[in-house]
């Protein structure tokens, strides 16, 4: 698919927010899904080669947004795509978050893991849920989009490693205190954080959905490059993060094989 970049906004040195117009994409995407983005503007060049996966932040009318962190050449190249230029990407991929109604929900985000949580927050709130967002980062720079969340959440708890904003703690610390009170938890962030959140939830008997990321070549289930190990009864089964995920039941993930 193709779309037009409407905005490619620098949030700070580390993050950018891109808004893309594409009715086709906007009509089909669901919360928690992701998209494989061709980061180069030229289709006649082969470096970078593969598309890059990004969570869908939200859809508004005919547009959708991506939040991206500067990591390597693909994301760096994205910063150079000016508003008005055409960008190519896959259709919306993956299973996404299952929404629920009238429950007490926690969202737990670590850094750029905030990306896929905004849209589900909106839906949950609209559907009568009480929503608390636990949002952790290294420092102030990581605490992005918080203002956009405010209308859609009831409570915001921020932590940073250096205390530059919010509580000086890992996000799991405040979360752990409250965890048992939630009906369901949605989490996205570094794998070790997701493991910790999942273990807390399992202990408290709270269902937890985690959005995982693995390097992806195809994003479509073909390359088998993105395997996640999940327990099904007695067995450990292999799931493709791109197709059967990226959202998994955190209580089932075999964390030893995922956190390497």
């Amino acid at each position: 698919m193709k779309g037009i970049i409407l905005k490619n906004e620098r949030l700070n040195d580390k993050y950018r927010l891109m808004e893309i117009e594409s009715p086709e994409f906007a009509q089909t995407a669901k919360p928690g899904q992701f998209v494989m983005v061709k980061t180069g503007l030229q289709d006649y060049l082969a470096d970078p080669l593969l598309r890059r996966p990004f969570g869908v932040v939200d859809v508004r009318g005919n547009t959708f947004r991506l939040l991206y962190m500067l990591v390597g050449k693909g994301t760096r190249l994205m910063t150079e795509s000016p508003a008005g230029s055409v960008i190519e990407f896959s259709s919306s991929l993956g299973n996404g978050f299952k929404s629920v109604k009238n429950q007490n929900i926690a969202l737990a985000a670590g850094g750029v893991g905030i990306a896929p949580l905004l849209w589900i927050a909106k839906l949950l709130k609209d559907d009568g849920c009480r929503v608390t967002l636990y949002f952790g980062g290294r420092n102030q720079e990581d605490i992005i989009l918080a203002d956009e969340f405010r209308p859609h959440i009831d409570k915001l708890i921020i932590t940073t490693d250096d205390g530059s904003i919010g509580e000086k703690a890992l996000v799991t610390a405040p979360f752990e205190k409250d965890a048992a009170g939630f009906d369901r938890v949605y989490a996205c962030g570094p794998k070790r954080m997701l493991q910790a959140v999942s273990e807390i939830c399992v202990k408290g008997g709270v269902p937890v959905d985690v959005s995982l990321d693995e390097r992806m070549a195809c994003g479509m289930g073909a390359c088998l490059g993105c395997i996640i190990y999940v327990r099904e009864g007695e067995e450990t089964v292999q799931k493709r993060c791109c197709v059967e995920g990226p959202v998994f039941d955190g209580s089932k993930v075999v964390w030893e094989s995922v956190c390497r």
């Binding site: 061709k38 080669l49 390097r215």
Partner: protein, 305 residues
């Protein structure tokens, strides 16, 4: 489209563009995204007798204009493939090539026998996966071993044409190609991936858990073209060329050096529509060159000075 119709080892393909094994799953994965009936054929992920879970993660990494993979031949096993995947794939109007392998000659033969009686169009014997110690590479690094496994499988396969897929990680690919031909292979496919490695300088760990992986993509095309050319000099059986094809121009290059059809691998990850663009591009090119059939291009590289 008849300008693109090709006959490879007795099987007619509507066009010579085939998706490469391991890059197109069991074909079905892509059916949502492109019209796979427009493909000449699909070579499915390497199948073994038993289900195989493959290597630990991480298994892939991008490199400059290429990628490393060490999937480790994860597959559902031949029985599940035939029962659950093949019937669905057969609903599409495209040729099905089954890439297969074994840990031993016996296992190769076992799988070949089963596939020989299945509703598939062609077999592609993989003796070149660099990512599994017992994934056939032993058979692909010594011509006498190649001869052995090919001739044993040949005896077991009565109904289907047999391609043998060669490894590029050899000093000289020609004796391997010759061994295949002499042992009864109906065609050669080449090349599989080059053995490579990449290290994260911050963690100091290899990007691939298996340490090394197979390098594919545009980066390797010159090596692939050279090897297909070498193979074409020593065998008369058809060659299915691959390695780094992402555009129709790349495909045409493989024809010129001796390929009768091409496979497209990594490009499916880059953009699933590239294969279809290659089909269209080849058709226009063949016509512009005044060919009545694309096969007239095979081996037509001009080596005069």
């Amino acid at each position: 489209m008849s300008v693109l119709k090709v006959n490879i080892c007795g099987v007619e393909f509507k066009n010579p563009v085939i998706t490469a094994s391991g890059t197109f799953g069991y074909g079905l994965e892509y059916a949502r995204f492109i019209d796979i009936s427009k493909l000449g054929g699909i070579s499915v992920k390497g199948i073994s007798y038993n289900e195989v879970r493959g290597n630990p993660m991480p298994r892939i990494m991008e490199t400059t204009s290429g990628m490393l993979n060490a999937i480790g031949l994860q597959n559902v096993g031949v029985h599940k493939f035939l029962k659950e995947k093949l019937p669905l794939l057969r609903k599409y109007d495209t040729r099905v090539i089954v890439n297969f392998w074994g840990k031993t000659i016996e296992e190769y033969v076992q799988v070949a026998e089963i596939l020989d009686n299945a509703d598939i169009d062609m077999l592609e014997m993989n003796i070149s996966c660099p990512n599994v110690k017992e994934g056939g590479i032993a058979f692909g690094s010594d011509p006498s071993m190649t001869a052995k496994v090919v001739s044993e499988c040949r005896k077991a396969i009565r109904n289907k044409p047999l391609l043998v897929k060669l490894s590029p990680n050899v000093t000289d690919i020609k004796p391997f190609a010759k061994a295949c031909e002499d042992s009864g292979a109906d065609g050669i496919s080449a090349i599989n991936t080059l053995l490579g490695m990449a290290v994260n300088i911050h963690t100091r760990k290899p990007y691939i858990s298996n340490v090394t992986g197979g390098l594919s993509g545009p980066a390797i095309k010159p090596v692939a073209v050279r090897m297909v050319h070498e193979v074409s000099k020593v065998v008369k059986i058809p060659i299915v060329g691959m390695g780094g094809i992402i555009r129709w121009e790349d495909a045409a290059e493989f024809f010129l050096v001796g390929a009768s059809a091409v496979q497209v691998g990594t490009a499916n990850f880059v953009d699933p529509e590239l294969t279809l663009k290659i089909v269209d591009g080849l058709e226009k090119y063949a016509k512009s060159q005044g060919l009545s059939n694309i096969s007239e291009l095979t081996g037509k590289v001009d080596l005069s000075k």
